[in-house]
């Protein structure tokens, strides 16, 4: 018997449901539009599962609390929007450096500053990549519909555990507040990745930062039988501070390579009609909905147009995009910012000059008609 459930939910509620499905045990957050419903939903549902919910004094406190909780072996998450995401940046870097799994949801709204709290934007793509100081790699995922919010949220937890890293979920206000049908899968339908725990027995030295042969670092729960140090400083395999150039060099390479060398395993995208596409739209999140719409509309009148919907923004799937766009005459990036992902696309395709931006940054969702008008200009057909 199929135990999956069909529901009509807001995107934020879907994210909360998916987090619980993925095994979320600890959530800390602070109210902020347009992400608050994630905290509200979890404050109600998580205690029913025996989980822990806490509203902290600010977003900095929230991310620090989840990192602390993660060290005890829990699956953890926080959710916020632009201003709160800015406040979290230092601690995101801490989680990267210390390799502590956690999930950070950023429901994007208009920025900079207080910006447009109740309006849509995709302006935090680059902040997700480079918001915290210093060299690093990051995983950031996105989705364009509620079913994908569900699977992507579960995937975020799986990737966080697999790679011992913070994973950022970049949703946007339109998806967060829109209601749409979603099928909640039955337990077990989506595989879950559980934490890799060390097999080193009690009484034997455990090195928290000594990789196994496959490169993974098994963890040991705080409060368990292995006592060790965790620091945001460069550290050796024991977790103790070191400024030895060899150790420093090795650690920064490890932190970057463990993600960027596995881009092909981490990244996902959806492809539409790429076989014959002269024009390829590249989009993600809510703007991908409009892009899909106009793509189908234009195909119906005979245009050879296809599309790539990015589901992973970071690491950016450079090799795949280059391959898939090799035959395109027009590459059109549709995003709701002043042009962020477009730079990644330009950097990897054979003809950067053939890459065009279609954007909207006035707080409203970009429409299929917006895209159609620009397409006509790009293709030399006038308005």
């Amino acid at each position: 018997m199929n135990n999956s459930e069909v529901k009509l939910l807001q995107g934020n509620e879907v994210c909360a449901e998916a987090a619980i499905y993925a095994g979320l045990e600890f959530f800390a957050g602070y109210p902020i539009t347009p992400s608050t419903e994630i905290a509200e939903t979890l404050s109600y549902k998580l205690p029913k599962k025996g989980g822990r919910f806490i509203q902290m004094e600010d977003e900095i406190g929230s991310i620090c609390a989840i990192i602390g909780a993660s060290l005890t072996g829990k699956k953890v998450m926080t959710a916020t929007s632009g201003p709160g995401f800015s406040l979290m940046q230092e601690a995101i870097g801490y989680a990267i450096m210390t390799e502590i799994p956690c999930v950070i949801v950023n429901v994007q709204r208009g920025g900079p500053s207080t910006g447009l709290p109740t309006r849509v934007s995709q302006g935090d793509v680059m902040q997700a990549r480079w918001g915290t100081h210093g060299d690093h790699a990051i995983i950031a995922l996105t989705a364009s519909n509620h079913q994908d919010i569900f699977t992507t949220t579960v995937e975020a937890f799986n990737l966080a555990e697999t790679y011992r890293t913070p994973v950022i979920l970049l949703y946007d206000e339109v998806l967060a507040h829109m209601r749409e049908q979603v099928v909640i899968p039955e337990p077990g339908e989506i595989p879950l990745v559980e934490r890799l725990i060390t097999s080193v027995p009690k009484g034997t030295d455990y090195h928290p930062y000594f990789p196994r042969e496959d490169g993974r670092l098994p963890m040991s729960d705080f409060g368990g039988v292995h006592r060790y140090n965790v620091t945001g400083l460069y550290h050796d395999m024991w977790g103790f501070p070191s400024d030895n150039p060899e150790i420093t060099n090795e650690l920064i390479h490890h932190l970057v390579h463990k993600i960027e060398n596995r881009t092909i395993n981490i990244t996902r995208m959806k492809e539409y009609y790429l076989e014959d596409a002269e024009t390829i739209l590249i989009s993600y999140g809510a703007s991908a909905r409009s892009a899909i719409h106009i793509m189908e509309d234009r195909r119906a009148v005979g245009m050879s147009i296809g599309m790539i919907e990015l589901q992973t923004l970071w690491p950016f799937p450079e090799a795949e995009i280059r391959k898939k766009c090799a035959k395109a005459k027009y590459i059109v990036v549709v995003e709701m910012n002043m042009g962020q992902i477009i730079h990644q696309v330009k950097a990897c395709v054979d003809h950067p000059g053939w890459v065009y931006l279609v954007n909207r940054v006035d707080g409203n969702l970009i429409t299929p008609v917006d895209i159609k008008r620009i397409l006509r200009i790009i293709q030399g057909k006038g308005i």
């Binding site: 600890f26 025996g50 822990r52 406190g61 602390g68 060290l71 005890t72 705080f222 409060g223 945001g232």
Partner: protein, 255 residues
Amino acid sequence: MPHIWCAGCGNGIVLNSLLRAVEKLGLDRNNIVMVSGIGCSSRMQGYVDFHTLHTIHGRALAFATGVKLARPELDIIVPMGDGDALAIGGNHFIHAARRNINLTAIILNNRIYGMTGGQYSPLTGMDKYATTAPYGTIVPSFDTVELAKAAGASFVARSTVYHVLHLTNLLEKAIKHKGFAVVEVLTQCPTYYGRKNGMPEAPEMMQWFKDHTFQRGTEPKKIEGEMIEIGLFVEEQREEYCERYEKSLQKVGKV
């Protein structure tokens, strides 16, 4: 043992007292988590054989709150400097106190930012000198005890590195206490605070702690300069945050 602290620093005395308190209580090392922030005193965690978490500046109590709520059975000790706890971390400090979450917060008060080279802190006080106050400070300091009391801490004490037995005794009580426990420890920084304020030698700074403090409930000596009250100011049995959380879980049918 080699360590990062300057000659004459008082932090080692606090660590010594703390370890004596832990030993007296007979705590299991696997059950202790030490969470620290950034600064001289926050390097204490590197010298103990517990679960140790060296975090970011000002946020030790927020990390500690996460560890504690996730695993309430653990004993959590949070050493912080005066700048770490009460400037950048001031908000987390008052909210941890308000929750009355069972953490032991030790504020090692050397009245200066030592790690960065002697800048004034929220506990430096008026008319003192620092590398960022070449003409003297113009802002009074927090009274840590009053701040902790007002914010809702259920255990509040103050001692100094001169009064080591007193300090050990208070730390023991603080760790045993169920609820948010604050112990402020006056500790000397001869390198920066002392040198900038006419007391470049550690012994004279410790002598100052002896001369310029009085036990709670006694009459302070009438001498020139400030007199600081030490002792146990608050020790109340109030319901602790994680206990309240467990109760609320029972309300929704989950233990």
